[in-house]
């Protein structure tokens, strides 16, 4: 699990970036920190316990990387590649993803809670035990994916496709849906309403 060493800046309780003594907010040069973290990731096939919370990633390639116990909380990703990547017990909540490709990824027991997704794809992926609660998802596709036991509680889904997905035990409680397709998916096994 990523370390929780608090940032050296006075009054800041945020955890420090891996290899630094401050968080993304208090580091002198966030662009330099992003490059440093990217170099760190590029050099490893398996990335463990990395904290890269609050950084900005543009046109970065995370494809086929394996992330275990990492944090990207509050980060921004645009035009990033995550194809064939693997995430286990990782946190990407309150982040922003624009034009990102998660196709053929394998994500299990991870959280994207409160994140924003635009023009992104999760096609043909294993998305088991994933937290999408409170997410704002627009123009995204989850087609041919396994979403077993994942949760979209309180999410906003606009122009999102869940075609031919396994949505057994997937929670869509209080999710606002506009132009959402569940064609050929097992909607009878998904949970759209519970007694609160």
């Amino acid at each position: 699990m990523f370390a929780f060493t608090p940032c050296a800046a006075e009054g800041c309780g945020l955890p420090v970036l891996t290899g630094s003594d401050s968080c993304a907010l208090h580091c002198g040069d966030p662009a330099f920190e992003t490059d440093r973290i990217l170099a760190l990731i590029a050099g490893e096939a398996i990335v463990k316990d990395l904290n890269a919370a609050g950084l900005f990633f543009n046109e970065s390639d995370f494809s086929s990387k394996r992330f275990y116990g990492c944090s990207f909380t509050g980060s921004t990703f645009s035009l990033c590649l995550f194809t064939g990547s693997l995430f286990r017990m990782s946190f990407l909540d309150f982040s922003s993803f624009a034009d990102c490709d998660f196709s053929r990824s394998d994500i299990m027991y991870s959280s994207f809670a409160g994140s924003r997704f635009k023009d992104s794809t999760f096609e043909s992926s294993e998305l088991v035990h994933v937290n999408y609660c409170g997410c704002d998802i627009s123009e995204c596709t989850f087609n041919d994916s396994n979403l077993y036991n994942s949760r979209f509680i309180g999410a906003q889904l606009r122009s999102a496709d869940f075609i031919d997905c396994n949505i057994k035990k997937t929670f869509f409680v209080k999710a606002r849906q506009e132009r959402v397709s569940f064609k050929s998916s097992n909607t009878a096994e998904a949970i759209f309403d519970v007694e609160l």
Partner: protein
């Protein structure tokens, strides 16, 4: 600290093994297990291959899908059980109380009683990790037998758990992980309980 998540097919519950990375006595590393809903080869293999010495079994509540593996586990390892009930699944347990802090090897475990889903429901805090059992999961709070139970649960969670810092990690008994900040903002169970509270208060005012 190393955290291992295991999905128990019996009852579809989450079981966790939390292990230290520093070897202690006899070269073994201390570890804790939370909610052994099952005890299978994968879990046993993880404990053995990491050279873990279990220091305790933490039970968030005595429901079979969270303790089904306890009997097998106790036959393999002679370790104390810690729960909000003195007897768990035919095993004697060390009773934990609200506000108590346990010291189990290198782990300091905070105990928070959150009755409602069951009378013995507790949340365990270890550093930045919150093992919430069925009391709190991603987007929802635990099911209860009555509206009274729901109110008690929502109030306990609000007062004792949600008042902690937002970057704590929520590791529930079912479903995916979350953070406390995400639960504060998006938990529809808590929102519904708050709304019911307001409606009840308005009704009482109207009657009186």
């Amino acid at each position: 600290m190393k955290l291992f998540f295991h999905y128990c097919l019996y009852g579809f519950s989450n079981c966790y093994v939390l292990g230290s990375e520093v070897p202690g006595e006899a070269g073994l590393k201390d570890a804790l297990i939370v909610d052994p809903g099952c005890m299978d080869e994968k879990l046993l293999g993880f404990i053995e291959s990491n050279d873990y010495r279990l220091r305790g079994i933490l039970i968030t509540h005595d429901h079979l899908n969270h303790v089904h593996g306890l009997r097998t586990l106790k036959r393999i390892y002679d370790v104390p059980v810690y729960a909000g009930d003195p007897s768990v699944c035919e095993s004697r347990a060390n009773l934990v109380r609200d506000g108590e802090s346990l010291s189990l090897g290198p782990f300091s475990v905070g105990v928070f009683s959150v009755p409602g889903h069951s009378s013995d429901s507790v949340v365990f805090r270890i550093e930045r990790l919150l093992f919430t059992g069925d009391a709190l999961s991603a987007g929802l709070i635990g099911s209860t037998a009555s509206a009274y139970g729901k109110t008690i649960l929502a109030h306990s969670l609000k007062d004792k758990i949600l008042s902690m810092q937002g970057d704590l990690i929520v590791l529930p008994g079912h479903g995916p992980p979350s953070s406390l900040e995400a639960e504060r903002r998006f938990n529809v169970g808590l929102t519904a309980a708050e709304r019911a509270d307001i409606q009840r208060a308005a009704l009482v005012r109207e009657i009186w």
